[in-house]
Amino acid sequence: MVKHSGIPYYTKRIAKASLETGTFAHLLHRITGLLLVVYLFLHMGVISFTYLNGQTFDDLMATFSSPLFLVLDLVLFAGAMIHGMNGMRIMLFDMGLFTRRQKLIFWVMMAIAAIAVLAAAYLLGTLEGWW
């Protein structure tokens, strides 16, 4: 008898399975969720400076308003939208809706996320006077 499971096995097999919509959505949800956690910790660290040292906070925020960071902000917004819309999709299933239509619903949700990100980019560009 030989083992046919475990983390090394999972890694190998999930890469292939990720081409399927459901598995793709699951991995996307997981990765965006974990990235948001990393951001959350960094973010709370930065916000702490409002209390620890206000000047440092202002300096950091000035750095974060450079174009590079503004684009990263959009990436963050996209991550949150993708995770959020996917989370809504999962909760639709939990309520017993569309379990036979999961592939379609995934792409519908991603389309909504894409539109939201475009809208955010438009808002940001307007504020920054890009157009």
Binding site: M44, S48, F49, T50, Y51, M91, L124
Partner: protein, 123 residues
């Protein structure tokens, strides 16, 4: 070889799952308000004085931010717990990680709330 699996009810596992959904619904609203208001729609200048001023002026906004800390802390750390449970089946590992996440979560929640408190009431 036959193995008997013991299945005991765990109300805690229900509550963790259920609160993950509750916090999800909460986050949809609260996080959207947070990101739009600080960054996309009519944002203030992000200096500690301006941020503090806006939070101090609006009870609504301060409440949203307090809710955000609560929802996101539970949701994020319970999410990490879910991921850990998938990849590490050993009960010992799970227990240690669960306790660690609980401690980190409470500490960050208290610290975050304190920082927010100072911002709202002018630090």
């Amino acid at each position: 070889m036959r193995q008997n699996i013991e299945l005991k009810t765990s109300r805690r596992s229900f509550w963790l799952w259920f609160l993950q959904r509750v916090s999800s619904v909460g986050l949809i609203i609260v996080l959207l308000v947070h990101m739009l208001a600080w960054h996309y729609i009519n944002p203030p200048e992000l200096t500690h004085v301006e941020v503090s001023k806006r939070l101090g002026e609006s009870i609504f906004f301060a409440t949203v931010e307090a809710l955000l800390i609560g929802f996101v802390m539970f949701h994020a750390l319970n999410g990490v717990r879910n991921v850990v449970y998938d990849y590490f089946p050993k009960p010992g590992t799970r227990k240690i990680v669960s306790i660690l996440l609980l401690v980190v979560g409470i500490a960050l929640f208290v610290w975050g709330t304190f920082v927010l408190f100072r911002l709202v009431f002018g630090g």
